[in-house]
C-alpha cells in the first residue's frame, strides 16, 4: 500500500502570479515525459521486472509522486490569484473554460494525459531503456522550462527536479548492468 506524508519533498516558492509559466509547467504534470507518466510507468512495470530491480522501480515510482505534488504546488501557486482575463492572456482561456483554475492532467498544449505515453513491454532491458530515455526527456523539459522562466524562487525548485532526473537515469543505467551481469552468469552453466 501507499501512505501519504503531509509535506513536500523540497520547498516550492513562487515569486509572482504567472499563469503563462503555469501553462508551460503543466507539461511536467500531464505530458508524455511528465511526472504522472513516470510514476505510473515504473509502478506498472515493476510487477514483471526481475526481483533485483523491483525495489528500484518501486522507490523511483514513489518519488515521482512526490515530484508530481511539487509540480501541482507550482501550478496552483502560479494561478491561484489569476483572474479569467489573466488566464486568457496567458493562453489558458480554453483551460479556464473547461476547468476554471483547477489543475488537470494535460500537457502544455492542453492535450489530456493518455496511457499511450507509457509502455510495459515485459522485456526488462526494453523497459529499463524506456525508463532511462524518459528520465533524459524529463531532464531536457525541465531545462527548457528553466530557460523560459525568470522566477528565481521557482527555478530553484525546478533545478532540484532536474537533478533528480539525472540521478534516476543513473540508477536505471546501473539496473541495466545488474541485469546484464545476471544474464551473463546464467550462460556459464
Amino acid at each position: 500500500m501507499w501512505v501519504y506524508e503531509k509535506k513536500l519533498q523540497y520547498p516550492v516558492r513562487v515569486s509572482t502570479c504567472n499563469p503563462m509559466l503555469a501553462k508551460f509547467l503543466i507539461e511536467q504534470y500531464g505530458g508524455a515525459d511528465g511526472e504522472l507518466s513516470a510514476a505510473l510507468r515504473y509502478l506498472n512495470q515493476r510487477y514483471t521486472i526481475p526481483d533485483k530491480v523491483i525495489g528500484l522501480l518501486t522507490d523511483i515510482g514513489t518519488e515521482e509522486f512526490a515530484h508530481l505534488e511539487m509540480i501541482a504546488t507550482m501550478v496552483f501557486k502560479l494561478t491561484k490569484d489569476a483572474t479569467p482575463e489573466q488566464m486568457k492572456a496567458a493562453g489558458l482561456g480554453a483551460h479556464y473554460a473547461n476547468h476554471d483554475n483547477a489543475l488537470y492532467y494535460e500537457n502544455a498544449g492542453g492535450v489530456p494525459w493518455t496511457a499511450t505515453y507509457i509502455q510495459a513491454k515485459g522485456d526488462p532491458i526494453a523497459d529499463l531503456y524506456e525508463d532511462i530515455a524518459a528520465e533524459e526527456k524529463a531532464r531536457a523539459t525541465y531545462q527548457w522550462i528553466i530557460n523560459m522562466s525568470d522566477d528565481t524562487d521557482l527555478n530553484d525548485s525546478l533545478r532540484f527536479l532536474r537533478e533528480r532526473e539525472i540521478i534516476h537515469s543513473q540508477r536505471f543505467r546501473e539496473a541495466v548492468e545488474i541485469l546484464k551481469d545476471e544474464q551473463g552468469k546464467k550462460r556459464i552453466f
Binding site: 501512505v3 506524508e5 503531509k6 523540497y10 516550492v12 525495489g55 505534488e69 540508477r171
Partner: protein, 86 residues
C-alpha cells in the same frame, strides 16, 4: 489560513534535508546493496529523522495518516495547512 512562524519553515527544511539524504541513499543502495558504509549512513539518518519528525509533529501536528502518526485531541490530521498552502 493561520500564519506560520519562521521556525516552522526551518524545522520543515531540516526534515526535508534529512529526507533527501535518505531517499538518495535508498536509491543508491537499491543498486549497490553491498555498500556497508552507505548502510551505516542510512541507518544513522533514520534515527536523525525520528528526532526531527518528533519535534515537528509535537508542534505542528501529524505528518502521516493511517496510524503512522499519533493524533492530537481533537483530531488534527485534516487541519490546514496542506503542503501546497505553505
Amino acid at each position: 489560513m493561520k500564519q506560520l512562524p519562521a521556525e516552522y519553515y526551518q524545522l520543515l527544511e531540516q526534515l526535508q534535508a534529512v529526507d533527501f539524504v535518505l531517499v538518495e541513499l535508498n536509491l543508491y543502495l537499491d543498486t549497490h546493496n553491498g555498500d556497508e558504509e552507505a548502510i551505516k549512513q542510512f541507518n544513522h539518518y533514520v534515527s536523525e529523522r525520528k528526532k526531527l519528525r518528533k519535534a515537528y509533529e509535537s508542534r505542528y501536528g501529524p505528518l502521516m495518516h493511517f496510524g503512522h502518526s499519533y493524533s492530537g485531541t481533537p483530531w488534527n490530521w485534516d487541519d490546514a495547512p496542506w503542503p501546497w498552502q505553505v
